[in-house]
């Protein structure tokens, strides 16, 4: 992957001036390449990584396994795209194994998610089974540990 993308994936707030120094480019060149990535849709957005467990908010997340019968044309794409359009659905992946689609769905409480599953998801043509797991705690998210670990202190000067 391009180093520029690696830097932004690590810290989307990194300034073009600093990125220019790190990659030995001009600031204008960095801005131009970021714009290109945005226009090509390679960069699709910038979001903060939030540890929601620390917030007192009413929210539950469910991880849902979905079995789907593929269609003659388009395979799983049509069903996956229909599911993706619900705003409750945060992520949708096609996976190998015992089931086909893996969803991350949020709601304000269990009932809301249950209603979504029985009322919306299960009724979609082609969906023939679901298994819902409620998420209890997040340890690591997008490569970031969610609990601050005690740092082992290093010496300040070594040879």
């Amino acid at each position: 992957m391009d180093e520029l993308l690696k830097i932004l994936k690590n810290n989307a707030l990194e300034t073009p001036a600093n990125i220019a120094k790190m990659l030995n480019l001009s600031e204008d060149e960095v801005r131009k390449r970021i714009t290109e990535y945005e226009e090509q849709g390679i960069i699709r957005g910038y979001q903060a990584i939030v540890n929601e467990d620390q917030l007192k908010i009413d929210k539950v997340t469910a991880v849902i396994e979905v079995k789907v019968s593929p269609e003659r044309e388009g395979g799983f794409n049509h069903v996956a795209s229909r599911i993706s359009r619900f705003k409750e659905v945060q992520s949708v992946y096609l996976v190998s194994g015992d089931f086909d689609l893996l969803l991350f769905v949020v709601g304000s409480d269990l009932k809301e998610v249950a209603f979504f599953v029985s009322g919306k998801l299960a009724t979609i043509d082609g969906v023939h089974a679901t298994a819902t797991h409620f998420m209890l705690k997040t340890y690591k998210h997008h490569g970031v540990m969610m609990e601050t670990q005690d740092e082992y202190e290093r010496l300040k000067i070594t040879p």
Binding site: E3, K6, I7, N11, N18, K21, M22, L23, N24, R154, L155, K156, I157, T158, P159
Partner: protein
Amino acid sequence: MNTNDLKLRRDVVAEHLRGVPRSGIRDFFEIVNSMPNVISLGIGEPDFDTPWHVREASVFALEKGATGYTSNMGLPGLRREIARYVERTFGLLYDSEKEVLITVGVSEGLDLAVRALINPGDEVLYHEPCYVSYGPLVVFAHGRPVPVGTRLEDGFRITRELLEKQITSKSRILLLNYPNNPTGATLDMEDIRWISEFAKSNDLMVITDEIYAELTYGKKHVSIASMPDMKERTIFLHGFSKAWAMTGFRIGYACAPPELIEAMMKIHQYSMLCAPILSQEAAVEALKNPERDIGEMRSEYEKHRNFILRSLRDMGLKCNEPHGAFYIFPYVGDTGLSSKEFAIRLLEEEKVAVVPGSAFGSSGEGFVRCSYATSLVELKEAMSRMAKFIKRLRS
């Protein structure tokens, strides 16, 4: 009884130790440590933690009961992995049974190498500025250290002209360290070629400390031990401290022809017995997927290097572009301060720690060593504080 109260009739400390000064780094360390909230660019080790799979392997080994001695030479499995690794990476062919010795860091490897080779009075040539232990280790082995200065304008590469000036009938050993601590300098193929020829024509043994070999930027490292007819006169030293971020494990190795390994072994078996078994187990794991572990760290360091190089040059400091290790060695002499004064004032006024170049030998005077193996957040802050400081000095 307090030893300070001892009234002895003679100086009990061995004579050859008395002339060896305390490490300049240790002095500076004490000042830095007494100060809160310092951003340190003074660290000669990676800010990465050891890769998790390596740490896990040593925990597993501990649980399994790996708590004893190993053979003096080190675990056979580890020696085999090392022989494979140095062949694959540097094109060096060593027999894992007779030509590889596991040491307690490159530090011990250096000590064994000089002790195995030096007769009293033999001269050891090494380029300077250099790692702090070289001169003292030679003195402890009753040899005579002969530093050969290197210069910013030569990119801190050793030059034939300066080396030739120092050679005498007592010169026995040439000690090399590229990629270099503290300058970040590396050697080109041409340098390696003439140095090999020079060593052969002057019948010098070569000790090469290649602890930063994996950390090069834009250039591939070439070991002098891989040059024609050099293997028999070279002790190749390497270890896990830097590229694998394993400084605390204290584990390294020496590769050399069997007679030399046997000689080093004699000292090692009585003074050290063996390297710690848990560290040896960890090293076996470290060699399972080194390209992946090191690749990520190297690409981080490279970005940090570019960042610090541009930042220091923007401040108007003269700076050699470092192609290896994780240090940069800017010239600060034109601020009118000595390197120690510069480091102390930067510390007091802006709370940024760098190491005075003079800690690495007199040819380091006028320079400071900045390590960029630190987090980008800290590096950015350190650079903006340093820029303020330089501006104030110049106004």
